[in-house]
């Protein structure tokens, strides 16, 4: 088995997430690359939750429609996912609560009396997952000792009860196939959110401020957990408006600060974002997209906020926007977003989504280009200080409170070089030009970076165009079909030169996006680039490789 998937499902509160982590961890230890897709409703108990754990010899970042194993903790899991079973698949189910009606005779099944076992072991309801994982391990021909090891790592409490339940499941099942270990180094398994958090920390994050909102709350939780260890301040204020204004206060004091939110919270932040543009106070916002309008599908994914982040906030000001497509890019570009924000004294937005943020991927830190925490332009203490000194590149030297005999004034009104309000026409235009001038220099600096990446068959005249979390699925589909892939990472200021370069030789450009109106296609039109075809998906779920391949095939016969 070189490429296979396991689907585990149950109700919210069944520990499906933990099960995904355990199974993913197991397969990762065997030297396989792993990707975990997590699908859960916006409820705490009940509903239907499932995870798809895909493993392969090659790095992967997307799921397939079919499942080689289904672990059904309840009837819904069988009913909703039985179409994913192939003739070679195995279904392991709780025989005390699941009936396999309508299952093809060819699919092998293992029934485990989980309710009975749990009762006999005196274990909690939540440990039903340990029992079914035990059965899976046996069915897949994986050594019990490896599972024991992973259990000890993943479960901090009641480890013995989990082990006992797992062992009973293991003993109940029979070996039906053999997942072989692969001799390659195991890479850490992290979520996109964790990669973002680590990137920010790497570049010298001092403070993280956030109001909880799916899909970026895990960044808040993770950074709060490690705050003392990393010397971070982590604050959860009254609202997203409080968040961004507090962040601007920290920024004024010279503290590197970031925030996390989603579309709804970002709506509340827009006035503060515009204030950042006017006052030239650097801030970083992690904007994890989820489907709207309004509350929409809170726990699902989308790519609908591109134009929102591009134009949010009143007035015209320079901003840096990057959309990483995997964990390495999330790590690298989150660090750069912080660096560039301080270098140019502008807001930076890291545009992610639920699929990237909450998906679990391998992470190879050694493949990431070197990252350094960069010092911003500081005042030389020679000439009298002016916070908004009009310089050639528009960047004014920074000084921070307390600085002896120095007055540091920031202002949301139009202001003169010392930060005092002005409405004088010539000066107003001059200061606006000063701020906008930074964009040209930022654009030049970005030439040093790989802001538009290409993959696949680089000579192919047909290219898939994607951004953000669709990178993984597009690269894999293109590989199978012999196509090229173009992925712009930086979306503001748009890297026209590098994009033009990437387009060389391409006759047909197919844009793949998780929205209904083709937002990247629309952005490209502004720069004079035209997309030939669009593949759009807007049901909140990510493309599976098979689904995308099929849709591409319909276009490139």
């Amino acid at each position: 088995m070189n490429d296979f998937s396991i689907l585990i499902g149950g109700k919210a509160g069944f520990g499906i997430d933990k099960s995904g982590a355990v199974i993913g961890g197991l397969l990762n230890r065997l030297g396989l690359a792993v990707y975990i897709y997590r699908d859960y409703p916006s409820i705490i108990r009940g509903g239907h939750t499932f995870s798809i754990i895909r493993a392969s010899k090659e790095r992967i970042a997307s799921h397939r429609n079919k499942a080689d194993f289904i672990l059904a903790l309840n009837q819904d899991t069988f009913n909703l996912h039985k179409d994913r079973l192939k003739e070679s698949s195995v279904i392991i189910y709780d025989s005390d609560s699941v009936k396999l009606e309508g299952l093809s005779d060819k699919v092998r099944s293992i029934g485990v009396p989980i309710a009975k076992i749990i009762k006999e072991e005196g274990a909690g309801e939540i440990m039903r997952n340990s029992c079914i994982i035990g059965a899976f391990v046996k069915a897949a021909g994986i050594k019990w000792e490896l599972l024991e090891d992973i259990f000890r790592k993943e479960f901090t409490k009641e480890i013995q009860l989990n082990l006992n339940s797992g062992r009973r499941g293991y003993d109940e099942a029979k070996e039906l196939t053999k997942i072989e270990a692969v001799s390659q180094e195991s890479l850490p398994l992290v979520s996109g959110n964790q990669a973002v958090a680590l990137g920010l920390v790497k570049a010298g994050l001092n403070t993280y401020i956030s109001y909880p909102m799916t899909p970026t709350s895990p960044i808040l939780h993770y950074l709060a957990e490690i705050a003392d260890d990393f010397g971070l301040k982590v604050i959860h204020p009254e609202s997203e408006i409080g968040v961004i204004l507090m962040a601007l206060g920290f920024s004024y004091m010279g503290k590197k600060v970031a925030m996390g939110t989603s579309g709804g919270g970002f709506c509340l932040m827009t006035e503060g974002l515009s204030f950042s543009g006017m006052s030239e106070l650097p801030i970083v916002i992690v904007m994890g997209q989820r489907p709207g309008p309004s509350t929409g599908l809170p726990t699902y994914s989308t790519q609908t906020e591109l134009h929102f982040v591009l134009s949010a906030g009143q007035g015209e000001f320079c901003r840096f926007i990057v959309a990483p497509g995997d964990t390495e890019e999330a790590y690298f570009w989150s660090a750069q977003a912080l660096n560039l924000s301080w270098k140019y004294q502008i807001p930076s937005i890291i545009l992610t989504d639920k699929n990237l943020g909450e998906g679990i991927f391998n992470f190879d830190i050694n493949s990431v280009p070197d990252i350094k925490e960069e010092a911003p332009l500081l005042w030389d203490r020679k000439s009298p200080y002016k916070r908004y000194l009009n310089t050639e590149n528009g960047v004014s030297p920074l000084a921070f409170v307390p600085e002896k005999e120095t007055i540091i004034k920031v202002n949301s009104y139009e202001h003169d070089e010392s930060g005092i309000t002005t409405e004088e026409p010539v000066l107003s235009a001059l200061m606006l030009e000063k701020r906008l001038r930074k964009e040209k220099h930022l654009q030049e600096e970005l030439e040093k970076f790989n802001t538009v990446k290409t993959y696949g068959n680089k000579d192919c005249q047909i290219a898939l165009l994607c951004w953000g979390s669709n990178k993984g699925v597009c690269v894999e589909a293109a590989q199978g079909l012999g196509l090229k892939v173009i992925q712009p990472l930086v979306l503001s200021p748009f890297p026209e030169k590098q994009f033009q370069e990437a387009l060389k030789g391409v006759k047909k450009l197919i844009c793949v996006e998780n929205n209904a109106t083709g937002q990247l296609s629309r952005l490209l039109k502004i720069s004079g680039f035209n997309v030939n075809e669009q593949i759009l998906k807007y049901d909140g779920r990510p493309f599976s490789v098979d689904e995308l391949e099929e849709r591409i095939r319909g276009m490139v016969k």
Binding site: N28, R29, K153, S186, L187, P188, L189, V190, L198, V201, K202, G204, N206, T207, I209, I226, D228, D229, F230, G231, L232, I235, P237, E238, S239, I241, G242, V243, L245, M246, A247, L248, G249, F250, S251, Y252, M253, K255, V257, E271, G272, F275, F363, I365, V401, P402, E403, K404, T406, I407, I408, K409, V410, N411, S412, Y413, H415, G419, I420, T421
Partner: protein, 283 residues
């Protein structure tokens, strides 16, 4: 008195007779005194919202953060949390702090974060030319309520007391000596302090005479006593024609929010090791 010049070159654009002048002069005097007593001026940050009041930061030659409407408070909290040794003094209007930004005000009081709020409470929107505010009396005829408001005002000091503020005072723009005393006390108080200044808008709501007839200084009042403070705060509800007490209503010692945070700062080398340790745990 202070010998230092705290003025700026910004031309003052308040109306002649505006109550803001009293606040400006009192603040300058207090900053001078505090400086003479050893507080370095560079350790002070003035924060303002948006409105007539907010121009004050352009007129005082001290570090300042000219925020947006309703949002002076959270910015001030960020500044304080970033460096607890900095004195943060916030100027906000009644529309600003008690209207658009009341959420932040309540939370700042709840946290007892060590910032000082000076509210220019003229009970009318000045810069937007005369609409009612959260503290305008019932029936106030403003440009958005020509037939008079149909909602009573809120009593901001009562709200603040309930929210957890640890210093509460009230003065008027006709009493600069009391303002100086209250500002100084509020700034020196460790914890969340708020001084509600009945600051008169001569153009849209001239209340000088009204206040002069009704105000009196608190006497035999124990500001440590919550019940006494509440009763004095409730005496005038910003609506009735009852006597209006001035002075420090409430003062309480309590731990402040910023002192509960440990000082961050992990050297870059250390960070790398910790990131690698974390990743090792993810295999």
């Amino acid at each position: 008195m202070s010998q230092i010049n705290l003025g700026t070159c910004a031309p003052n654009t308040w109306c002649p007779g505006c109550g803001n002048f009293a606040i400006l002069n009192a603040v300058k005097a207090v900053l001078g005194e505090l400086n003479a007593e050893g507080l370095p001026l560079e350790n002070i940050v003035l924060v303002s919202g948006i409105g007539c009041h907010a121009k004050i930061v352009d007129y005082v030659n001290v570090n300042s953060f000219y925020s947006i409407h309703g949002r002076a408070t959270p910015a001030a909290e960020g500044i304080k949390l970033a460096d607890p040794k900095v004195k943060v003094i916030v100027f906000a209007g009644d529309g600003d702090a008690y209207g658009e930004g009341i959420e932040h005000l309540i939370f700042a009081a709840k946290r007892n974060i060590d910032i000082t709020m000076i509210i220019h409470n003229n009970r009318v929107y000045g810069l937007t030319t005369g609409q009612y505010t959260p503290t305008s009396p019932l029936g106030f005829k403003g440009r958005s309520t020509p037939a008079g408001t149909i909602e009573p005002p809120l009593n901001p000091l009562e709200v603040m007391l309930a929210s957890g503020a640890t210093f509460l005072g009230r003065g008027t723009s006709h009493g600069i000596d009391l303002l100086k005393k209250l500002f100084k006390e509020a700034i020196k108080h460790k914890g969340f302090s708020l001084v509600d200044v009945l600051q008169v808008c001569v153009t849209y709501y001239n209340m000088y005479e009204y206040y002069d007839k009704r105000v009196y200084g608190l006497k035999d009042h124990n500001p440590q006593d919550y019940v006494q403070a509440l009763s004095k705060i409730r005496e005038w509800d910003y609506n009735s024609d009852s006597p209006i007490a001035l002075g420090a209503f409430y003062k309480k010692e309590a731990p402040s929010f910023e002192e509960k945070f440990s000082e961050p700062g992990t050297p870059a080398q250390d960070r790398d090791t910790k990131i690698n340790d974390f990743l090792k745990g993810k295999i």
